[in-house]
């Protein structure tokens, strides 16, 4: 395990030296990796670092406000509302890899804009050790800003956590005093709720997914899942009141895991499952059916796309 004290000291020195008096940006997603990298770099160089948070419109309920609050102490923080632009790019796109690509491209455009505005010549990234190995694999292209360095042509890239594993990053986050909502944050994919909506991503389906995910996180808190969420799979017939509806099918997923590499579907009580379906189908008009995903990883992945 990493020695946190000496790691933080070394990382700060490395960042200060690499940046000199130049301006750097970091893509802040609110996840533990980028948040910790941002906090480390901000401690090292203050407002020379411009953390950029892009609200894609694909975030969880209340997430953007939460980020704004947690990182309020960074005067240089930029919050970009780009939801219309992301939904425009996603219109008509149904293939999972194409979706990720469209989102990645738009992310790059958003950061490019800010980088030019603030004249950033350096990029700080929260890359961790498994990212460096996994990016060679073929499971999923999961790096939002993977193509950013090539496009913007930064003079330098600083990756202070390149040798750390996720649990070590969490230790560093705790050491830096990042609030629990960050240091213990449930993993959330870069492309956001888009990978939890099968088929075309529309504001309407994302709204269903967001509300249902909120219910799942709330109801399953006691089970301490590693990750728990809802996905919108497609449509099926239902009957609400005396009306036939062709509503969304919402899948509930709740898994326990150490590192996300393997996962076990959690064993939930029947009463819990019933409360979930009742709240999801009962309070979200467009939902006619709720299913629970019992598949482990492998053969399934944790996320749907």
């Amino acid at each position: 395990m990493v020695d946190v004290d000496s790691f933080v000291e070394d990382a700060r020195a490395e960042i200060s030296e690499a940046l000199g008096d130049e301006t750097a940006i970091i893509a802040l997603s609110g996840g533990v990796d980028s948040s910790t990298a941002a906090a480390l770099a901000y401690e090292a160089v203050g407002d020379q670092l411009v953390p950029v948070y892009v609200d894609t419109g694909l975030m969880r309920k209340g997430e953007t406000d939460e980020i704004r609050e947690v990182f309020d102490y960074m005067d240089s923080l930029r919050v970009v509302d780009a939801s219309d632009r992301f939904f425009d790019e996603l219109a008509g796109v149904t293939d999972p890899e194409e979706k990720r690509h469209a989102i990645g491209e738009q992310f790059i455009r958003e950061f490019e804009t800010v980088a030019e505005e603030v004249d950033a010549t350096q990029l700080v990234q929260g890359t961790i050790y498994p990212d460096r190995i996994e990016s060679e694999g073929t499971i999923k292209s999961h790096h939002n800003v993977g193509g950013l360095p090539e496009r913007v042509g930064f003079e330098g890239i600083v990756e202070p956590m390149r040798d750390l594993y996720k649990d070590e990053v969490r230790e560093v986050a705790r050491h830096l005093g990042l609030e629990e909502i960050i240091s213990e944050r449930m993993p959330f994919p870069g492309p956001g709720l888009a990978v939890r909506v099968i088929g075309e991503v529309t504001p309407e389906k994302v709204a269903v997914c967001r509300e249902a995910t909120h219910i799942v996180e709330d109801e399953l808190e006691a089970y301490e899942p590693w990750q728990a969420f809802a996905a919108v799979l497609g449509r099926a017939t239902g009957v609400k009141g005396d009306n036939r509806v062709h509503g969304h099918v919402v899948a509930v997923r709740s898994v326990e895991s150490r590192d996300g590499m393997t996962a076990r579907a959690q064993e939930l009580e029947w009463e819990t499952l019933q409360r979930l379906q009742s709240r999801i189908a009962g309070t979200i008009d467009e939902v006619s059916r709720v299913v629970y995903d019992v598949t482990h990883k492998p053969p399934a992945t944790i996320e749907y796309e």
């Binding site: 073929t138 590499m261 393997t262």
Partner: protein, 183 residues
């Protein structure tokens, strides 16, 4: 210090093999691509990782003649069988997630300490159906006849499951046993 090299066959769990060994006392570990020339391999033991395809195993077949203890994991296990005269085939029943493995050779230095059985996490479509000459089947399960094999003369070993993942119950013991073989 015992120096172990993890050879990356581009499996999604390769970095977990590196992690497990890195955190072990008395062990130094490096991760290397499977295209590393055999002449440049300098280690007390090799771990051949899993991976998506036999078409992308680089120089792994040549590493088997380096006279150094080897642990093959998943695809790494299958490639040992394939190269040395065993046989691999597509399994009838893909091995995914939870599998209970019975240890058939309690004296085996790699998996014997897990006897009589152990719960593992697996992820494979293909499997070894015949082990090469000199090898013994050391573990089996309901869905796969060769869950582990070993040749104690040449110190070549293979496991079909993934000892490096968190959901495998006694995965660390497999690596500890392998390190003991390498010392």
């Amino acid at each position: 210090m015992t120096h172990i090299l993890v050879v990356d066959n581009h499996g999604q769990f390769t970095h977990l093999e590196h992690r497990l060994l890195r955190d072990m006392d008395g062990v130094t570990v490096d991760l290397t691509d499977n295209t590393t020339p055999p002449a440049d391999i300098d280690a007390d033991g090799l771990v051949l990782s899993g991976g998506p395809t036999m078409a992308d195993i680089g120089h792994c077949r040549e590493y088997l003649t380096l006279d150094v203890p080897i642990l093959g994991v998943c695809l790494g296990h299958q490639l040992i069988a394939d190269e040395l005269g065993g046989r691999i085939e597509a399994g009838d029943y893909g091995g995914y997630a939870d599998v209970t493995v019975s240890i058939s050779d309690a004296d085996d230095p790699l998996v014997g300490s897990l006897a009589p059985d152990t719960r593992v996490w697996a992820s494979h479509a293909d499997e070894v159906v015949a082990v090469p000459d000199g090898f013994t089947i050391t573990a089996e399960s309901d869905i796969c006849g060769v869950e582990a094999m070993g040749d104690t003369d040449r110190d070549l070993y293979g496991v079909q499951w993934h000892p490096e993942v968190a959901h495998t119950e006694e995965g660390e013991a497999v690596f500890e046993n392998f390190v003991a073989i390498c010392e």
